[in-house]
């Protein structure tokens, strides 16, 4: 059983949380009409050995979605942050503005002095360029709709 340091509620058992998938993928903008970015977002996942960013929800607690950095090999948890803060920082960074003051990162122990053998390099953002090489599917014509 894992124990997660919820930024709101403190250290809690895994059974209070539910796993919510890979947190390193970014949801395309709502107006995105191309198929490929959505296919990547929904279906394409790396399976890293080592550090992994993942969503967890404190379902039986404060109901906050969290971004947890977990080592898939050792189950070591190195940081737990509010997903909301991560999202806002990303949005601010994209806008070129300095990130607003947010809840501090919860890192109960000092930075990991990790074994080289158990660590994959930190995950890089998925490269869009690489997917360009793949054959781009034609967007299906929208089905007939009424108003």
């Amino acid at each position: 059983m894992l124990r997660l340091e919820c930024p709101i509620c403190g250290l809690r058992d895994e059974s209070e949380f539910s796993y919510g998938g890979d947190a390193s993928v970014t949801r395309p903008a709502d107006g995105e009409r191309a198929m490929r970015p959505w296919l990547d977002y929904v279906f394409c996942r790396d399976n890293p050995r080592g550090r992994h960013l993942e969503y967890w929800q404190h379902q039986h607690g404060c109901r906050q979605w969290l971004v947890v950095e977990r080592n898939t090999l050792t189950h070591e948890i190195t940081s737990v942050r509010l997903a909301r803060d991560v999202a806002r920082e990303a949005a601010a960074a994209k806008a070129g503005a300095p990130a607003s003051k947010t809840t501090e990162t919860i890192d109960p122990e000092p930075a990991p002095a990790v074994e080289a053998s158990t660590e994959a390099p930190p995950r890089k953002p998925r490269k869009r360029a690489a997917t360009g090489a793949r054959k781009r599917r034609k967007t299906t014509p929208a089905p007939e709709t009424s108003s």
Partner: protein
């Protein structure tokens, strides 16, 4: 007295004699004995039969590693198979019986299996029953016989009458193991002020110190440590407790056996307690397990681990034999030899090493031990018991060098070296690392401190002083990590007695005694519990199963209930030797929980029977039961299924209830619907993004049906949402998807849509909901509701209004699931019963009846509304005929991926109605086939929902059928392969009843 109990000594309470029963025979013992020591004291050697070959077996160890001495414990519902005699505390009335033997231990019929043993070697099962013989009559014949003979012990047949409980534990420092290193670790942390939990599987603290003479220097060490720990207010001592599993984040599973040493648990006391212990730091001091030596007949009753002989001597005052041969290659053996000789036994010590320090040689001469250097036991002699030992001169690898010599003896003590009990460490961190000097797998460094440290013998410390220091050191590191100042226990370490016979410091290493060519002299067991021999390992090697993982599975070594605690090292050392590889090259397997078997009852705790899982009841539950509703489970919810007043059985009742709604008026509890308050200035935008249809135009006072997709474009849920105020909406979801919808909404609002000023809150439990449906609904509600105009013009369909009913404030949503003129009453849960009762009281003139979920289902099937059977996670808007709902003017969740090419495949099953011909109804899950052609494959689709419709005068169904909407009027076959039913049906529109909606809009 024919027994082997010494006149004095031991850690048994001679003032408290108890009588046990083994196979019906009374056995005298004392408190402080184990079942094993009690039987050995009575000179009962043959205590069990082996698993596969039914060979006679005796007690082999004095602890949790016991491979042989397994028994059935207690009787009836308290029956427990495969209990280790070595850990069963003696108490008055203890009931044990041998297992794997029929008709009796001494005359076991199954022992003929031993005669067939050449055929029962490694891979016997695979070779015999896979391939051509599988599924033949021959196999069927053998299977019955094998099933009867196979298995270890007999499972209990009666329900367990005892209670078990679960506890959530928290501690600063968990110390696993109450031996010297564990005691030192606990003491050091206790002195430093940490909250300590000390766990010991035995009923007494002390570990290996208990195997030392009573009243000696070791007791002078043990007693003050134990006293200080027992007196410390910050130390919790859990004896009779096994730490069976180590999990992430410092979580440990413990089983505390509270009542296993009583005939029945004392009143109010559980039998066992399962601790989920969360430890900020842990010190594992689990000790080490002695290894057997592979020689011919090394399983005969009377062959025992040398360390266990010493435990029986000093702890239980039992001298296991009068003439004892010891075989091994370590200094440890000299201590055993000297002590056994001092107790009056005639001892022969075979040290396989060619040389020994003169001090040891002198000591043995002084002790009167017959001492042979460069010798080992090659064979045991005897039948059911040891009668002698055949000795042979050996080289360092255990190969015979010369002629053999047989000596008479009644017990053989063996020591093949020590295996650190790294199980818990390995469960957590994977494979241990091989230490050449110690010839043992030890915990390795794990990089960043994970708060778990190994200490004592488990960590490779050998002498008592080293073990105490190791415990104190691990404890100091843990204490420092806890932010406390480590405390000194030098006084304890300094008082540790110096070993008498530890001269060379080199660990013993004698794995087997074999012929010059390496072949065994006879059946030489590696895994006593699973009857795996050296020859089986050799055979696995010859047949190519050389990896340890293959070896394990092919020979089943280490796969018995003891998980190879004594066996594993010997098996993998043999494989390494066969391959000419080193031990680390051969590798080791990984340990997984549990360390020793755990009763399922303990894991279940109190969550049994009706407490198996939580049950959700609506605020109206009591009324439903009082009104004669048959209840049904819908997820965790209990809902009224049908009312006994409506009919004699489910079918009669639901058909009548559904028809009644169409003719008059009915009401049903729909409180289980998910209800979500959506609030904030961006609430409309949020709804616009999660639902496929548009929400911006919805005015306050109105409500709308919506459908939402998952991100992958498949339909996820549907329901109505009402706009209560400018910035406030009340969303309803299906009962089944409520949690998922809320979670998805929260996810989007906290990640991609973190900029939306919207908040979602589950209000499912705050609101009860009652649907009132039928032509008389308006008249009924008008008669009971105050403060609202329910006329057709004032409250058209898809509008809501506030009102009071029986004084309770309600919200009346006009919407229809049944297709009739219908309303949903939303009321605070606390008023729900008052409102239901008021409707009942006023209902008679309007022919009001309550209906259940089955009738509700029939009504919606008639209407062609989709529910969980159609929204099964595999259907798209198009499949369900709802694609016209999707807006093209705005993005929404799943809006792009729903357009994937494959989802427009014309062969995709799509929603249709079926009119079933004849008197019999279809079963959901039946397959739909064309009228002509073979019944092959999965047909054209499947039936999702079925009902009998009195209104329509026949059986109907909803189905998903390939090209369905283009096949209206086509005759098809509906086939249920499970029930062997074949019906014919006509494909029709799913909207069987009132397709224009005149009734619901009326």
């Amino acid at each position: 007295m024919s027994g082997r109990r010494l006149e004095s000594g031991g850690r048994i309470d001679r003032a408290k004699p108890v009588t046990l029963r083994f196979d019906g025979r009374p056995i005298s013992a004392f408190r402080g004995d184990t079942l094993a020591s009690a039987l050995l004291a009575q000179d009962e050697r043959l205590v069990a039969r082996s698993f596969k070959l039914h060979r006679p077996r005796g007690v082999f160890s004095a602890g949790a590693e016991e491979p042989n001495a397994l028994v059935h414990l207690r009787a009836g519902g308290r029956h427990e198979p495969n209990a280790r005699m070595t850990q069963i505390e003696a108490y008055e009335g203890l009931l044990a019986s041998s297992q794997n033997a029929w008709p009796s231990l001494r005359a076991d019929f199954g022992a003929v299996a031993g005669l067939a043993s050449p055929a029962l070697g490694a891979g016997f099962y695979y070779k015999t029953f896979m391939g051509p013989l599988r599924s033949t009559r021959f196999w069927m014949l053998c299977e019955a016989a094998i099933r009867r003979a196979a298995g270890m012990g007999r499972p209990p047949r009666d329900p367990d009458p005892d209670a078990y409980e679960k506890v959530n534990g928290f501690t600063d420092l968990l110390v696993v193991g109450g031996g010297p290193s564990g005691l030192a670790a606990a003491l050091a942390a206790a002195r430093a002020g940490a909250e300590v939990t000390l766990v010991e599987q035995d009923f007494a603290l002390g570990g290996s110190l208990l195997s030392e003479p009573i009243g000696g220097a070791h007791d002078a060490l043990l007693i003050p440590m134990r006293a200080e720990l027992e007196a410390a207010p910050n130390v919790r001592i859990l004896t009779r407790t096994t730490a069976f599993g180590a999990y992430e984040s410092g979580v440990f599973g413990l089983i505390e056996r509270l009542s296993d040493h009583h005939t029945a648990p004392p009143p109010g006391q559980p039998r066992q307690r399962y601790w989920v212990m969360r430890a900020r730091q842990a010190v594992l001091a689990a000790g080490a397990i002695e290894r057997p030596i592979g020689f011919a007949g090394n399983d005969r009753p009377g062959v025992m681990l040398a360390g266990a002989m010493r435990a029986y001597l000093h702890r239980f005052a039992v001298q296991v034999g009068a003439k004892i041969v010891l075989s091994g290659a370590s200094d440890d053996l000299y201590e055993v030899a000297a002590d056994l000789a001092a107790s009056g036994a005639e001892v022969t010590l075979c040290d396989a090493r060619a040389e020994a320090p003169q001090t040891l040689i002198d000591a043995m001469r002084e002790a009167g031990v017959s001492h042979r250097l460069g010798w080992a036991v090659a064979k045991s002699q005897g039948a059911r018991e040891i009668e002698g030992a055949t000795l042979v001169a050996v080289d360092a690898e255990g190969r015979a060098l010369g002629p053999m010599e047989t000596v008479r003896c009644d017990a053989i003590g063996v020591s093949g070296g020590w295996t650190p009990a790294v199980h818990l460490w390995s469960q957590r961190f994977g494979k241990p690392i091989y230490d050449q000097a110690r010839d043992a797998f030890l915990p390795r460094p794990v990089g960043r401190d994970q708060g778990i440290r190994a200490a004592g013998r488990m960590a490779g410390a050998e002498t008592l002083a080293a073990r105490l220091k190791s415990g104190a050191g691990a404890s100091a590191a843990a204490v420092t990590a806890l932010g406390l100042q480590p405390a000194d226990i030098e006084d304890v370490v300094d008082s540790s007695p110096t070993p008498r016979f530890c001269e060379t410091g080199a660990p013993g290493r004698l794995r087997w005694v074999v012929r010059t060519d390496g072949a065994p002299f006879g059946k030489s067991f590696v895994d006593l519990q699973h009857d795996v021999t050296l020859s089986d390992v050799d055979q696995a090697y010859r047949e190519g199963y050389v990896s340890v993982e293959h070896l394990k599975r092919y020979t089943t070594t280490g796969m018995a209930a003891d998980q190879g605690k004594t066996a594993n090292m010997l098996a993998l050392a043999r494989m390494a030797w066969l391959r000419g590889a080193t031990i680390p090259e051969a590798g080791t397997t990984t340990f997984r929980p549990p360390y020793t078997g755990v009763a399922i009852g303990a894991l279940a705790g109190r969550e049994v029977g009706r407490r198996l899982r939580p049950v959700r009841r609506t605020p109206l539950h009591d009324l439903h039961e009082r009104e004669g509703a048959e209840m049904t489970e819908v997820g965790a919810w209990m809902r009224p299924w049908w009312y006994r007043a409506s009919g004699a059985d489910l079918v009669e009742a639901y058909v009548a209830e559904a028809a009644h709604v169409r003719d008059y008026v009915g009401m049903v509890d729909v409180s289980t619907l998910g209800k979500i308050a959506v609030q904030g200035p961006d609430a409309a935008e949020f709804l616009n993004r999660v639902y496929v249809n548009g929400w911006k135009s919805l005015a306050v006072g109105r409500l709308r049906y919506g459908v939402m997709l998952r991100e992958d474009g498949f339909v996820m849920d549907d329901g109505a949402t009402a706009r209560l105020a400018e910035h406030e909406y009340f969303m309803s979801t299906t009962t089944a998807q409520a949690a998922k919808v809320l979670s998805m909404a929260e996810h989007l609002l906290q990640t991609a849509w973190a900029d939306l000023k919207t908040h979602v809150t589950s209000v499912t439990d705050e609101w009860a909901a009652i649907a009132v449906a039928g032509p008389n609904a308006r008249a009924l509600l008008s008669s009971v509701c105050r403060g609202a105009d329910l006329s057709r013009d004032a409250l058209p369909n898809n509008h809501w209004t506030e009102a009071t009913l029986s004084g309770a404030p309600i919200r009346l949503h006009r919407m229809s699931y049944s297709g009739e003129l219908a309303y949903e009453i939303y009321v605070r849960s606390g008023y729900a019963q008052a409102v239901w009762s008021a409707l009942r009281a006023a209902g008679a003139p309007f022919q009001l009846k309550a209906y259940g979920t089955e009738a509700m289902g029939a009504l919606r099937i008639e209407k062609g509304h989709i529910a969980g059977a159609e929204i099964d996670g595999r259907t798209t808007l198009r499949d369900l005929g709802l694609e016209r709902m999707a807006s093209r003017r705005k993005p929404f969740v799943g809006g792009v991926l729903k357009n994937r090419d494959a989802l427009f495949d014309p062969e995709r099953p799509r929603l249709v109605g079926l009119r079933i011909r004849g008197e019999a109804g279809a079963q959901s899950g039946s397959l739909v086939f064309p009228k002509k052609g073979a019944l092959e494959g999965h047909g054209d689709g499947w039936v999702s929902s079925v009902a009998y419709s009195k209104t329509l005068g026949g059986h109907i169904a909803l189905a998903l059928v390939a090209r369905g909407p283009d096949r209206m009027g086509e005759e098809v076959r509906v086939v249920n392969f499970v029930g062997e039913q074949e019906l014919s049906a006509e494909i029709v529109s799913p909207h069987f009843y009132d397709p224009d909606g005149t009734r619901q809009n009326g």
